[in-house]
């Protein structure tokens, strides 16, 4: 498998000055994140608010600079400080945002919006316009009808199609979809999900699909990364993670999904409380304050993301799964021989 994009121990902090009287602190919005995206794969990224999903997307787009670690795009490390480098990244990594209206220029027609990036990359105007119309046709917007329309003349689903057209017009190696279908109504969401599936097949695209909607992520992704307060908690193939989640947080998240059968309603919440503030998170495992199986080791030492013994492609950051971690549920290295 060819690797398109990888992040290695990536980290980004934000300083928080809580105003005159508020608490000062440091938000480790993304910390020690490592994963890779293979060509033609859909990698799902799930997490609740404050988990660092969007910060990660902005790091990958070079909209902000990482404080630690590195991003590797097509086997070359990205230097986010150089403007040339950022331009190189932007022609290979494109993004679709949640708010379809805010991410379009209200004074650009659909065709002008899509052609803008092509022209900025140096395409002659005519060629840019022609390619823009091709991209609009690809996303199901007939150029004759839609090319000259402004954002306010389009429905939410159509606007999101323009955003997708603008992104794919630049033939990116990877498309970051940050909650790209979350604001759409169900009937329109299904249309856009089908479109994304078609485009992936016909153009051989690679997606990083960020969403809080667990059903949608399951539907589109091959593998998923679960994040909590800036940390990767679990990585694995969708079927494995949904059917046999390893991390207690993933378990809680997956069993928090609402029922589809009114005769079998949820009787108890899988976890209590809210995700804590990402400012000055608890020491040790960041989930320990809500975890049903937390032990002293979890509050003392941060667990490292490690593969499960039964499956090297399934990784989790939980002491209960780390051999000899000191957690009572963890296996010991020489457990067989001991009395």
């Amino acid at each position: 498998m060819t690797q398109v994009l990888a992040v290695e121990r990536l980290g980004k902090d934000f300083k928080v000055s809580g105003g005159l009287l508020g608490p000062k602190g440091l938000v480790q919005a993304v910390d020690d994140c490592s994963f890779a995206v293979a060509k033609n794969e859909v990698l799902g990224l799930v997490g609740e608010s404050g988990s660092g999903k969007s910060t990660l997307a902005r790091l990958l787009m070079c909209l902000i600079r990482p404080d630690r670690g590195r991003i590797v795009l097509e086997n070359a490390a990205v230097d986010a400080r150089s403007a040339d480098e950022r331009r190189r990244v932007l022609s290979r990594v494109q993004m679709v945002f949640q708010d379809s209206y805010a991410s379009l220029n209200p004074r650009h027609t659909a065709a002008a919006e899509v052609a803008f990036g092509l022209a900025a990359r140096g395409e002659p105007r005519r060629a840019a316009e022609r390619q823009a119309c091709e991209a609009l046709a690809l996303v199901g917007l007939t150029p004759n009808l839609f090319a000259e329309r402004y954002p306010h003349e389009l429905s939410g689903g159509q606007r999101q199609r323009v955003n997708i057209a603008r992104a794919i017009a630049l033939s990116p190696k990877i498309l970051i979809l940050d909650e790209a279908v979350s604001a759409l109504d169900k009937s329109v969401q299904a249309q856009v999900l089908n479109l994304l599936g078609d485009l992936k097949r016909t153009l051989g695209l690679t997606y990083l699909f960020i969403s809080h909607d667990l059903e949608v992520v399951r539907y589109v992704s091959d593998r998923i990364v679960v994040m909590y307060l800036g940390k990767v908690m679990e990585i694995g193939s969708v079927d494995v993670v949904y059917d046999a989640p390893a991390h207690p947080y993933t378990k809680a998240l997956i069993s928090s999904r609402l029922t589809t059968d009114p005769k079998r309603r949820t009787s108890a919440a899988p976890v209590t409380g809210d995700p804590p503030s990402p400012i000055n998170p608890p020491p040790g495992c960041r989930f320990s304050s809500r975890c049903p199986i937390a032990e002293p080791i979890c509050r003392a030492r941060e667990p490292k993301l490690s593969s499960l013994r039964r499956d090297p492609h399934h990784l989790t950051a939980c002491h209960a799964h780390i051999t000899d971690s000191g957690h009572s549920l963890a296996s010991a290295r020489k457990s067989e021989g001991n009395p």
């Binding site: 589809t260 949820t266 809210d274």
Partner: protein
Amino acid sequence: MSAMASALVPEPRTLLDVRRLAVRFRSRDGVVAAVQEVSFTLSPGATLSILGESGSGKTMTLRALMRLLPPNAELSGQVIFENSDIATLDEATLRAIRGPKIAMIFQDPMAALDPVYTIGSQISEVIIAHEGVSRAAARVRAKELLDIVQIPSAQRRLDAYPHELSGGLRQRAMIALALSCRPKLLLADEPTTALDATVQIQVLLLIRELQRALGMAVILVTHDMGVACEIADDVAVMYAGRFVEMASIADMVASPQHPYTQGLRASTVQAASRGTPLRPILGAPPDLSQLPSGCAFAPRCDQRLEICDAIVPTVTEAGARRVRCHLFAAQTRS
């Protein structure tokens, strides 16, 4: 059960009886029919979920029940609550109903709570205004309410400002505020939509539990069938301002009858949909100022009959189910 025994069981009392409710907006560009011909009844302690996509009129319906409408809205029809018609009540009487009898919670607690007052003083204010108790007594009640909605360290949170609470706690504080005068009917407008998954289920369970404990009826507006599955007795599906289908939640999930409800289900991503393309409803909802002359769903409907483009379907009743569809009417007749 014999006929004798069933005659002894009293008819279930009706808490709310809504008849031909309509909300219109008149502007320079024409008339927008946001809600049309909405009729339903609600028993005490029951939960109705109004399900619809954006612009379907679900929030306007909910607000009309309490007459919390923008000034340019025109309300017609009847909203009969405990023998009085909310649609025609004077402001003073209405004020005595809002809060003590009918309360409302919203999607965004940050917008619904006052940012410059503490949680405790906002709840106390309502109790003092409606029940005339002392400030100290109101504060004691406020603390009890925070306990009821399971806010940890309630005594300390009384003095917290809304911005000092997390999203889930703010939502709980707003529920406490709504419950402060023990309403008989709680109107909830997408109360869990903005919450994280692990918090959403907690708040839904809380609403379900409070409803049981307080015997309160709930009307909950949502776009998510999962929310209705967790909490509702009955569901009404709205499209372009009308109730197009109403049934018990079990019937609605097992066998949706209106083509729109069926389409909605086929569009919704479920565990079983993995690996297969979804079957979305084509097109987009109509412009409410230029509704088609027939069924508003006809232009998107894959089971359209000739009559659908000409005449707005009336409600067909089949058992406890009510469907506004020519096809369903024809099938029920035959």
